[in-house]
Symmetry: C2
Subunit: 257 residues, 2 copies
């Protein structure tokens, strides 16, 4: 399926599943929309914390169509599923946001690790959550973020078990994608970043870390949703976890070689 087809089906309410595994090779993005009053602070928050919040495109206020990631695509209809947030609480998960749309909304599209996972797999580094068809394991940490306005909190990380002979290669490959989280933030010591039990992730599904493997931690695009819980802006819209915006740009366009 081409990205434009997936987006068209989403807009018609006919594509309603996680986007992982669809449109291979094309960039997928996290989305967060905030009233204009919060936008400057949130943009600065992203700039101060580029590893968990790598900003790819900003749309609006007063506009809803992408110019960069997927020129012409309407961000209010082409994501398969959205979450509506009131004062830091997720109050609804919906297939279209027409009833919630406000003229003052600013839409932020943030990089997603799906982009570098493809590069890892192509380099012969198999990812257990992909082969087992699970969602990647994600954890809240004690790694502080630089605050901006009401936006503050701790980083969420994703974890992938990597064989000890491939850790360096995995660092090099993901380091080539600074706009989609980049290289790992930590290797091998979950407890030092406040993760007590690897088998009990805060989001996603657990995977085994086998003998000869190390748990490797990357900054995760779920971080801003975790920040929303604390910042409690009066209103926000996000994509639903796993139901991403699919762009027309190729992942490889984000590789710096």
């Amino acid at each position: 399926m081409r990205p434009s087809e997936l987006r068209a089906l989403s807009a018609q309410g006919q594509f309603d599943q996680p986007t992982a595994g669809y449109c291979n090779g094309y960039i997928q993005a996290n989305m967060i929309a905030l009233p204009e009053a919060y936008a400057a602070d949130f943009e600065r928050f992203c700039q101060e914390n580029p590893k968990p919040c790598p900003l790819l495109e900003v749309i609006g206020p007063g506009a809803t169509r992408s110019k960069h990631l997927a020129p012409g695509a309407d961000i209010t209809t082409t994501i398969p599923r959205y979450r509506i947030w009131i004062s830091g609480e997720c109050v609804a998960e919906v297939k279209e946001i027409g009833a919630y749309y406000r003229e003052d909304l600013v839409f932020f599209l943030l990089g997603c690790s799906f982009s570098f996972e493809e590069a890892l797999i192509q380099a012969g580094i198999s990812l257990r959550h992909v082969t087992k068809q699970k969602n990647v394991a994600m954890y809240r940490t004690n790694l502080p973020l630089t605050p901006a306005g009401i936006f503050r909190g701790k980083m969420v990380v994703s974890m992938r078990p990597i064989h000890c002979s491939k850790v360096a290669k995995a660092c090099l490959i993901t380091g080539q994608y600074p706009e989609v989280h980049g290289e790992p933030v930590q290797v091998g010591y979950p407890e030092m970043i406040g993760i007590k039990d690897l088998s009990a992730p805060d989001y996603g599904d657990p995977v085994a870390v086998k003998e000869g493997e190390l748990p490797v931690f990357w900054a995760c695009g779920v971080t801003p949703q975790n920040v929303l819980l604390k910042a409690k802006p009066e209103f926000a819209i996000t994509h639903a976890p796993g139901y991403m915006f699919v762009g027309d740009l190729k992942n490889e366009a984000y590789a710096q070689r």
Copy 2:
């Protein structure tokens, strides 16, 4: 001290100590000289095993002066200390090789990790063997090398303890120096590459690996000396470990960004 001064003092027999810590910023190289009959095989061996044997320059036969690393420098006099090998046995360690020189010798200059250590330290990754003023810890491993002619054997690695929050950065930085061993070959599991006891290195000095750190292993330029022990060519000359050839090129010239 400038590299040309260190080489001039070496040629006069007045510099007789390990070169680590001298001529900061300038490339240092491992040297191995073999009779022409072995040269093609050894060059192929280096090409097949570029991580432990990164070939920087080949000089001779019938010539002894560098054209690339230090134009004009005579390789037979400007290294502080040499080792003479007969049939795989080190028979002498000398300050000049006049008495052993043969017209058919081919000199190979190979990259050395001193080059990337400087970049690591500049990036805020402190190296315990440097702060403790010790030689880096080196170990024989079970990692096989691709054979060429009589040259075969296992890789020697150097180990540096790196904090778990800086492992990825250390991989990225050293990965920018493919001609001086590049990124690590393994992270965190010494026993899986045949290292039984980290506190008993085969060459160099042991350093502690502390809580929150991982032992990180890089391919090491001592590998060819280990290969000589097995290949037993009738004759060879090398630098003495730690007493390197110091070139006029800057380490940064070897960074690929």
